[in-house]
Amino acid sequence: MRIKILVRLKGQILEPQGKVIEQSLNSLGFTEFSNIRQGKLIELDLPDNISKEEKVQKIDSACKKLLVNDIIEEYEVLG
C-alpha cells in the first residue's frame, strides 16, 4: 500500500517560501489566494498484509525518529 505523509512547519513558524509564492500568485492575478504555506510530501510503500495498528505504529515511529522534527514540524498521514 502507498502511504503519503504530509510534513509541514507548525503554524506559528514563519514560512517565507509560502509568502513568496503568494506574492507571485497575487501578481499573476490570483488575488483571492492568501495564507499560502509550503510543506513536503513523503510517499512510501508498505506491505499490504500489515495490520492497521502496525501500520500506524511504524509510521509514527519513523516520523518521530527521522522524518519529522517535532520542534518545528507537524505531520499528517493522508488517505
Binding site: L9, I13, L14, P16, Q17, V20, K65, L66, L67, N69, I71, I72
Partner: protein, 226 residues
C-alpha cells in the same frame, strides 16, 4: 598536558579540512579525523562537528548525519563532560541529535548568506572565556538554514540557564543588519545546560590565520586551552 581533539567527517562535510588545520595550528596537540561510519572515538578534549552539507542537506539540514554510527560515541563524549563544538552544519546536527535545544530553519529572507558577520558574547562559558564582554568579533557565516528557532518556554530556559553564547550584532564600521538571518533574539550560538557543548552558525575556523580577514576565531580555541 597537550590538548587532544578530533573532527568528524560526514559525506558532504566541506569545512572538515579547515577545522583540522584550525585545531592543528592553534592547539599544537594531537588531532584526529574521524569518518562518520566509525564506531569508536579516541579520548579527546574536544570534538568538532564541521560545517558543510552533510548528506546533501536532504530531508532537513543535519537530520541524516544525526543518525550516523559515530553519533553514539559523540553523545558519550559530551556526557563525559568533554567539549563538543558544532559549527554551522555541525550546529544543525547537534540540534537534530537533541544535544542542543531548538532548531535551525531557513533564513528569513530565503537567501544563502556567505559573508562576514559580527557577533558578541552573551553569557559566559568555557568557549568564550577569553572574549571580553563588550568585544565584537568578526567571523564569517555561510548558511541557508541559520535562523534559530525555539518556543518561548525554551527561550526562557536558555536565558535562565545562561545558555546563549553568542548573538549577532552590528560591526563598529558596518551597516550590516544586526540580525542577519531572522534568528530569535539574534541568537548565533547556544550551549547545552552543562555548557560543554556549543553550537554556532559563524565559522571560527575561517577566521584564525594570517591570510584570513579576521583572526577573531582563535579566541574560541584559546578560551578552551587557557
Amino acid at each position: 598536558m597537550s590538548f587532544k581533539s578530533a573532527v568528524i567527517t560526514f559525506p558532504g562535510s566541506n569545512c572538515d579540512r579547515d577545522a583540522l588545520c584550525y585545531l592543528k595550528d592553534l592547539t599544537k596537540g594531537e588531532v584526529h579525523n574521524i569518518w562518520h561510519e566509525e564506531t569508536s572515538l579516541p579520548k579527546v578534549d574536544l570534538v568538532i562537528l564541521p560545517g558543510g552539507f552533510s548528506f546533501g542537506d536532504y530531508l532537513r539540514s543535519g537530520a541524516m548525519a544525526s543518525k550516523s554510527k559515530i553519533i553514539d560515541e559523540v553523545v558519550k563524549h559530551a556526557n563525559d563532560n568533554r567539549y563538543l563544538l558544532g559549527i554551522c552544519n555541525g550546529f544543525q546536527i547537534l540540534t537534530e541529535i537533541g544535544l542542543l535545544e531548538g532548531a535551525l530553519i531557513r533564513n528569513k529572507k530565503l537567501k544563502f548568506l556567505g559573508k562576514n558577520c559580527f557577533i558578541k558574547k552573551k553569557f559566559k562559558n568555557n568557549f568564550n572565556l577569553s572574549i571580553k564582554d563588550s568585544q565584537i568579533l568578526q567571523i564569517p557565516v555561510a548558511h541557508n538554514e541559520g535562523n534559530f528557532y525555539c518556543d518561548t518556554e525554551t527561550l526562557n530556559l536558555l536565558k535562565n540557564n545562561e545558555q546563549i553564547a553568542f548573538e549577532y550584532c552590528k560591526g563598529e564600521f558596518s551597516n550590516f543588519e544586526e540580525n542577519i538571518n531572522g534568528s530569535i533574539e539574534a541568537i548565533a550560538g547556544i550551549t547545552n545546560k552543562k555548557k560543554n557543548v556549543l553550537g554556532m552558525m559563524p565559522h571560527p575556523e575561517r577566521a584564525y590565520s594570517d591570510f584570513h580577514q579576521s583572526q577573531d576565531g582563535r579566541l574560541i580555541i584559546e578560551s578552551l586551552i587557557s
